[in-house]
Amino acid sequence: PRNTDSYDYYNYHTISEIYRFQDMLVAENPNLVSKVVIGQSYEGRPLNVLKFSTGGTNRRAIWIDTGIHSREWVTQASGTWFAKKIVTDYGRDAALTAILDNMDIFLEIVTNPDGFYYSHTRNRMWRKTRKPNRGSSCIGVDPNRNWDAGFGGPGASSSPCSETYHGPSAHSESEVKSIVDFVKSHGNIKAFISIHAYSQMLMYPYGYTRTAVKDQAELHAVAQRAVSNLASLYGTRYRYGSIINVIYQASGGTIDWTYNQGIKYSYTFELRDTGRYGFVLPASQIVPTARETWLALMTLMDHTFKNPY
């Protein structure tokens, strides 16, 4: 495609195509979108984050990431659609315009680029990073067990061959550490939304402990509104609640760490489907998935905007 209008949002794309998409979007919208490289993956790929900003300095911000588990292809595809949606709706949609006139949005479309590349070229079912593990022939770490929040506890594996291997130490993966450093240095991120697939859930912390977060009532009410708005488009049913209650105990998870950093509106999605296709969701489902998810995202972003803390 020569521009982001002719990009095929109805299909899955390789990492190089997504990198090109990002550059085109920046070139087409220089006053709204810029690219921030927050680090490098183990294999040396850039960790690109799209920054949507209408100005100001270190404004309150919303973080969205997709594709930290590489085989969950509908997430990277949805992230690409979200990026285009933001530039299309700014100035047209009152709610999004109000948000962007006051806040910045950061979007990391391919959070685990090495794994994503590997899932396209060698193993479609690859989930983890691609860093070798000392003393083991098994490769990679589960980057959603690598955060410093109950790290190494129940719900993560100490075996490098496991799909949920937590890694040798918290933030050992550059894909994780780069986000950690960015969040800490920014200091004004007010919502952090990490998007996975599949099984149709919207969750808030905690995953590593049964202790309820102090903002549970508010987070639960907002999640309820978000899934209700999501369902209004196609009737897709979501479960919602804390990670440990809705899925299972999982230690070292992304949004547990962000919440403990003081980011109150920390949420994580599991997008479509309910299990018919799992990670091999047909491409025809990408745009419907992205469209319905956008309604939930807008709910979360709008609430963050209207409830400063």
Binding site: P1, D8, Y10, N11, Y12, T121, R122, N123, R124, M125, C161, E163, T164, Y198, S199, I247, Y248, G275, R276, Y277, G278, F279, V280, P282, A283
Partner: protein, 96 residues
């Protein structure tokens, strides 16, 4: 390139705590080379697991002897992956 000919994805819904415990044990067993797509959570909550061709018969037998019901979510994973690849290729050709 790693392929998945004959691999199946099972859906198992644990009926009680005994079955839940059995499935949790399976998560830590390397014998069947299982890949849990949806991990074991609680009674009544579906578990999805990819089973390699070489383990299919022994895994089915393992479940059946313990009276654990299952259904097949994906009959042949490689066939689904091939279809996905074909769709991507044809879309790319169309774009060209």
């Amino acid at each position: 390139k790693e392929t998945f000919e004959g691999h199946q994805v099972f859906r198992i819904v644990p009926k009680d705590d005994v079955q839940l415990s059995l499935l949790k044990d399976l998560e830590d067993m390397f014998e069947f080379q299982l890949d849990f797509w949806k991990d074991v959570t609680g009674v009544g909550t579906p578990v999805d697991v990819r089973v390699p061709l070489d383990s299919l018969e022994s895994f089915k037998s393992h479940l059946e002897t313990r009276d654990v019901d299952y259904s097949i979510m994906i009959e042949d994973l490689q066939a689904v992956l091939d279809q996905e690849q074909e769709e991507m290729d044809s879309a790319a050709r169309f774009a060209q």
